[in-house]
Symmetry: C2
Subunit: 372 residues, 2 copies
DNA sequence: TTGTATGCGTTATCAC
DNA sequence: GTGATAACGCATACAA
């Protein structure tokens, strides 16, 4: 922190007035208390001296740090940067800044980070890292600090959230697949401890029932994490069950990429033999081979709304505003991993093989444990 | 900011001692001044009361905010998240947190953000957004606030930086291409206002001379920004010159992706007719069609070192430590966009066509103006 | 409309 | 070793 900074007192001295007068003249909220000409002169002198208010001192006095804590599982998971931009752009409009930290999906680390954030006096918390059962979040809320979860929600109605329409989005994917004539459809679900994984699973079940899909109850697999490795393993496991299917709905693009790899390992053609869908339309989802059919969620907008909601709550008296539950609409993005149901099913591709995901790039991919 | 927080005075009252004693007992640096048993008792009571030091008050008193300002062009540009993780992880070890903001490559916005950071009393600045001529950075440095640029450097030796070996990396790409038998090699260079663009251009020239490549001076194009759109346009322009080449070295992966699109538009096969290399090995560079041959830079490590360097400078007396200039080594990553030089060159693919980059996805891509 | 006085929660410099 | 006191820079209740 720079030392010789010019402070209120210096401006006051230069203007020949008292520091408090300068303070009032410079604050838009109190400027009307000062004679226009004086206020103008003070403003001019302040900028001449390059006065920059010390926001730490101001924070101590006002009990407002003008910072918002933001927790993400892992900023290198490409789904999060657009959310963060939405948050940052919106907070900046009101002079707030985010303090961002990565939880690596570790509840202990999350709790520690929340403590650190609170020690730093953040005025609110935006959490992209929430798990459905999240004691730390409930605790924060009960301590009266404004909290919003984004992209995911927790199992407690009292906490505000901004999420996407997960069940509806998954239904979109199933509808798309059904329109292509598929009747036996598998689902590789995400982690059920996350609302995204759970709701997309619900969405599949509901849509499968509606369309009276065949054997769908026996064609559901669960991935432990939203990453490529789990996608590969989950897909292989589904294949090994020996129940033929013509389409695979995955709960997430990274899962889908892993599935594509697994299918390729088994020599199964996409989409000729099996159609695949992802979820999120993350950056570069269109660069897979073939380009991935997926459901586009709103990321920047989710961040933007989450920030707006926090900001509203800061203005209001504590606990005055009820929790906001916002669900953004999603959109089907058909690309090349889905196609018409094959005329005849090559049943030989289903059943145990006993192979393992190939090495090589898998080592890199396995390193990423992040979910979303 | 929560209100009823327990403070030093509360702990002191509960322990029956003075607040200053509590302060000393809780600070590892002064704990030795206190009787062991007393210190222990205070520590216990503090944790029982869930005391969390108010870091804002502490900051005001010590003139250290324990925050570092971090500026990136755009966090959604996937090259930056790993850098940020390196920074965050490293800062966290010493109790510092980053305050991150996006400049959108706008020097005005950068200057504004630096002002905001400084008003917030950041103890140092890490800049991934630096342009070669960057008055704001020089200003900050002269004001005595520790600055490190990462990934890029400015034209002023007094500022510390952590970059990758750009010229060496570009030479690696040229060597690789020459080994495959290519003799006429084009270069799509990046923005010369950025050190990355400039140094990679240098690297190409040097390597081209060394290998005595053919007509290389006439086969250099300059992209205005490091994005796909500039890659498409730059590649098309190179093709239109009518000078046949068998390989294209681009200054960046996104440029390479644009070039791949342009080549595809013209019906030119990669790598059979033209080989292409990228630079950075950004996430998903292996997912292009075909998978992109590129040069892998160090991102996480760059962020880590930048943070370390800032931290060193905070401990030291202001201006005591000389600037650090660190250059990380890079690595060639051969994949499928490069192959042996074709036996015969199909000259008809070179020369003006008068087409324009196709619409569709280009609209999305054009929206991203970020460079790196 | 402007000036005075006080306190936000810590830490550092004195005394004791 | 521990306690008392002042100061960090600003904002606000109160006085003028």
């Amino acid at each position: 922190m720079a030392k010789g900074r010019v402070k209120l007192k210096d401006v006051a001295a230069a203007a020949g007035v008292h520091a408090s007068t300068v303070s009032r003249a410079l604050d838009p909220k109190t400027r009307h208390l000062i004679t226009d000409s004086l206020a103008e002169r003070i403003t001019r002198i302040a900028s001449e001296l390059q006065y920059r208010p010390n926001s730490i001192a101001s924070s101590l006095r006002t009990q407002q740090s003008m910072t918002i804590g933001v927790l993400v599982p892992d900023i290198t998971n490409m789904i999060f940067p657009p959310i963060l931009r939405g948050i940052e752009d919106t907070l900046a409009q009101q002079g707030y800044v985010p303090i961002i930290a990565n939880t690596d999906s570790d509840p202990v680390k999350e709790r520690t980070l929340m403590d650190i954030m609170r020690a730093r006096g953040v005025d609110g918390l935006i959490l992209a890292s929430a798990q459905r059962q999240d004691a730390a979040i409930v605790q924060a809320m009960e301590d009266g600090i404004p909290v919003v979860t984004v992209n995911r929600m927790i199992d407690d109605e009292r906490v505000s959230y901004v999420i996407n329409n997960e069940t509806g989005g998954l239904a979109l994917a199933v509808d798309h697949i059904v329109e292509l004539g598929h009747r036996t459809v598998a689902h590789l679900a995400g982690p059920q401890r996350l609302s995204t994984g759970l709701f997309r699973y619900y969405g599949f079940c509901r849509a499968a029932k509606k369309h009276r899909l065949r054997k769908w109850r026996d064609l559901i697999g669960f991935a432990g994490a939203f990453n490529e490795e789990s996608g590969r393993e989950g897909c292989l496991e589904l294949l090994d069950r020996g129940i033929p299917f013509t389409a695979l709905i995955t709960a997430n693009d990274r899962l889908a990429i892993g599935a594509l790899q697994a299918l390729s390992i088994r020599g199964i053609k996409v989409p000729e033999e099996v159609s695949v869908t992802g979820y999120n339309d993350m950056p570069f989802a269109d660069m897979t081979t073939p380009p991935l059919t997926t459901v586009r969620i709103q990321t920047y907008e989710a961040g933007r709304r989450a920030a707006e909601i926090i900001l509203e709550r800061l203005g209001a008296e504590r606990g005055t505003l009820p929790a906001v539950h916002e669900v953004l609409e999603v959109e089907m993005v058909p690309r090349q991993t889905t196609g018409p149901v094959p005329a005849t099913i090559n049943e030989t591709i289903f059943g145990p093989r006993g192979d393992t995901p190939s090495a090589g790039r898998s080592a890199d991919i396995a390193a990423s444990e992040t979910d979303r």
